[in-house]
Amino acid sequence: MAAGKASVSRPRTRVNALMLTLPLVAFIAVTFVAPLISMMARGVYDPTVADIMPETIAALQSWDRQGLPPEEVYAAAARELTLAREERTIGRLATRLNRQAAGTRSVITRTGRALNRGAEPPWSESLPEIHEAWGEPEVWETLLLTGDRFTADYYLNAVDLQRTVDGDIVRQPETRRVYVDLFIRTIGVSLSVTLLCLAIGYPLAGFIAHAPPRRARLLLTLVLLPFWTSLLVRTTSWIVLLQQQGVINDILVWAGLVPDTERLTLVYNMTGTLVAMTHVLLPFMVLPLYSVMSGIPGVQMQAAASLGATWPRAFLRVYLPQSMPGVGAGCLLVFILAIGYYITPALVGGQSGQLISNLIAYHIQTSLNWGLGAALGTILFAAVVLLFVFYDRVLGLDRMKLGA
């Protein structure tokens, strides 16, 4: 009887348990997974041109690209541009085309205005009269390139590449190559911050882990204190410390290490970004390290010494290997947080201290080039996922210890 009852009730409990998690699953789906997918989709799906100028694009398919397109293409373009102006979608179209080829915006807007005032066929003559660009093949090639609803352009753009009308993929002109350098800089900064955090955090965590309990509690509180302070306060206080008339420069000048006329530029550049990010991310290094290190009995080092190992040897062969799960977890955590860091570089980074996430924010908020922002964000996301997979393969996520 008892066994039968148990086997009946178990699936029900499981269903009940699953039901309990349902609100959370739904919440995550609505607030996290769906926006993520929609954002990633923007990087490859852009129907602007295809929606606004469908007939022009269709007509252009038959263009042999020898010389200019035939009259019917001009006619379709004139018709659809007129319509776009009436429906006030012409601005979006102009922006989209301008991203593909700089200078196209004025072509579209001027043509829209002229068509509104009234123009006569044959369009293959009147359009070039409105703007000479219609007399060149480039503008038509731009239309053809942007006519697909699905496009790799944003991703290509995000890695400083572009697609020619012949379908070749070439590098952007030198003046427009930004993102690869920025990705490299972001990874470089993240690595530097991770190494700085490790260099400061490892001895600190070791000291806390093997201190007497009372002192350990106090030190741990001090490490955690920044967590309870607003990120903005922490970052801006670094400005107070690091600026040219700030505390650190004042002390250096007072100590005579730096002449008053040559105060160091410590903020609004890469130095500021490194210092502030290291400070903000340090607890994420110390906590996993502490949790792993406090599990290493002090007697291990005594045993190593009694077996004849010098301190460096005992550290390298006995202590360090046992603390590796904490090192791995701390580095992974700090690196992943650093690679997407936004507020601190925005506040103290100045021009040279900007990272890729600042540009993503710029494209999302200011230039409204969401497709490019999405492409950059997705690449960043993919990099983090790759790193995670790599970590799992090499060190094993199951060996990672994040907290006590």
Binding site: P297, V299, Q300, Q302, A303, A304, A305, S306, L307, G308, A309, T310, W311, R313, A314, R317, V318, P321, Q322
Partner: protein, 396 residues
């Protein structure tokens, strides 16, 4: 400092204080000849582990000096002392296999790889762990881990091996097996051994000599037999095995025997003849220690110098012996053990019997020390199995 030529290890008036005013170890002197197995036995907090740590180099004496092979070790760092240490929690390196653990001390000494492999194999064979060379410590039982730890402490042929409660984490059966194994190894290799335990059975079973410690001092150091048969202090008498204690005052004294009044002072004196150990004159307070198994029940008249009437309060059947709780000379419970042999005589609670014991089995010890000295000490681990029965004068 006196010469330490004949002693392999010598502690000379060593003292240690962690906080500057309370002494963890006080005036600790001990000489260990080569090849001897010496155990420091005492309750937790008595300073025995501190002595071990000072010899290993993990702690430093605040007074006195420690000599190893005649050389003071004060300036020698732990990793240069060539001392093998076995810790209570094994302290095997969890990320290394057993073989790697054993190779560690050899590699630290820059022994050639070929020799390392041979030495490791020999050491593993010695503790019957040859099949476990490639296991991680976490994949082995407690007993196997302990054997690996012992092998690691022996593999580099240290001058002396220190063991700090190495069997504390094992169950009773395994503990007894390991006691025998450690003793056998020590004798085979002829290695000098300093062993720390709070378990008197362990100390008795393994050691050449046992140093009983209490409150940072050595109370008595002797072979297990002597410690049991001839305790010199009340602490030792009650810590090792079981003893009945009778408070009294010396009435007459000479070097071979003394007469002690154990009466309550109000009634008529009750005189017991005792062997003077820690008394050297009349009118001194003393505690008489009498082993329960050395008390004869209804002895033939004239054979014992001390014979007293007693009332049986309780009788517990223990299998191989009977345990009587009696009241004698106004003290209770006075424990008597009677071996369960043919003709031991039936005794029932309420019976009045006669108890007798020899002068040599009744040792007049110091009156100051008492069993409570160790039960008041901070308790971290189990108090020894020894039961001490101190019989206070019955009131009223």
């Amino acid at each position: 400092m006196k010469s330490a030529a004949d002693a392999f290890v010598e502690f000379a008036q060593v003292g240690k204080s962690y906080d500057g005013h309370t002494l963890a170890v006080e005036d600790f002197s001990l000489r260990i000849p080569q090849g001897e197995f010496v155990t420091l036995l005492g309750p937790s907090g008595c300073g025995k582990t501190t002595c071990l740590k000072m010899l290993a180099g993990f702690e430093h004496p605040t007074a006195g000096e420690i000599f190893l092979k005649g050389q003071p070790v004060g300036q020698i760092r732990a990793h240069k002392r060539n001392i093998g240490v076995v810790f209570q929690q094994y302290a095997l390196f969890p990320h290394m296999t057993v073989a790697e653990n054993l190779a560690f001390p050899l590699q630290a000494r820059r022994v050639p790889a070929q020799q390392v492999a041979a030495s490791v194999a020999r050491a593993l064979d010695m503790v019957q762990l040859s099949d476990f060379a490639d296991r991680l410590p976490g994949q082995m039982s407690g007993g196997q881990q302990q054997r690996a730890a012992i092998a690691r402490a022996l593999v580099f042929e240290p001058d002396i091996v220190l063991m700090d409660e190495p069997l504390g984490a094992l169950d009773r059966r395994l503990r007894e097996e390991m006691q025998y194994e450690i003793r056998r190894l020590q004798q085979r290799l002829g290695v000098t051994m300093l062993y720390v335990t709070h378990d008197q059975g362990e100390a008795m079973a393994m050691s050449d000599r046992v140093a009983v410690m209490s409150e940072g001092r050595i109370q008595q150091i002797a072979s297990p037999e002597v410690l049991y048969e001839e305790p010199e202090r009340v602490f030792v008498a009650t810590f090792i095995g079981e003893n009945n204690l009778l408070d009294g005052r010396v009435v007459e004294w000479d070097a071979a025997s003394c007469r002690v009044d154990v009466g309550d002072g109000a009634g008529k004196p009750a005189i017991v003849q005792a062997f003077p150990v820690a008394v050297d004159g009349a009118d001194q307070p003393t505690k008489l220690a009498i082993r329960p198994e050395r008390v004869a029940l209804n002895p033939p008249s004239g054979s014992y110098s001390n014979v007293f009437d007693a009332k049986v309060l309780d009788m517990i059947f223990m299998g191989d012996h009977l345990r009587l709780h009696t009241e004698v000379l106004g003290r209770a419970p006075f424990i008597v053990k009677i071996p369960n042999i043919v003709g031991h005589g039936a005794v029932l609670p309420g019976d009045t019997v006669q108890l007798g014991w020899l002068v040599t089995d009744c040792r007049a010890l110091d009156a100051t020390g008492s069993a409570s000295a160790y039960s008041a000490a901070p308790e971290q681990d189990r108090v020894p199995i020894a039961t001490s029965t101190e019989t206070a004068p019955a009131r009223g």
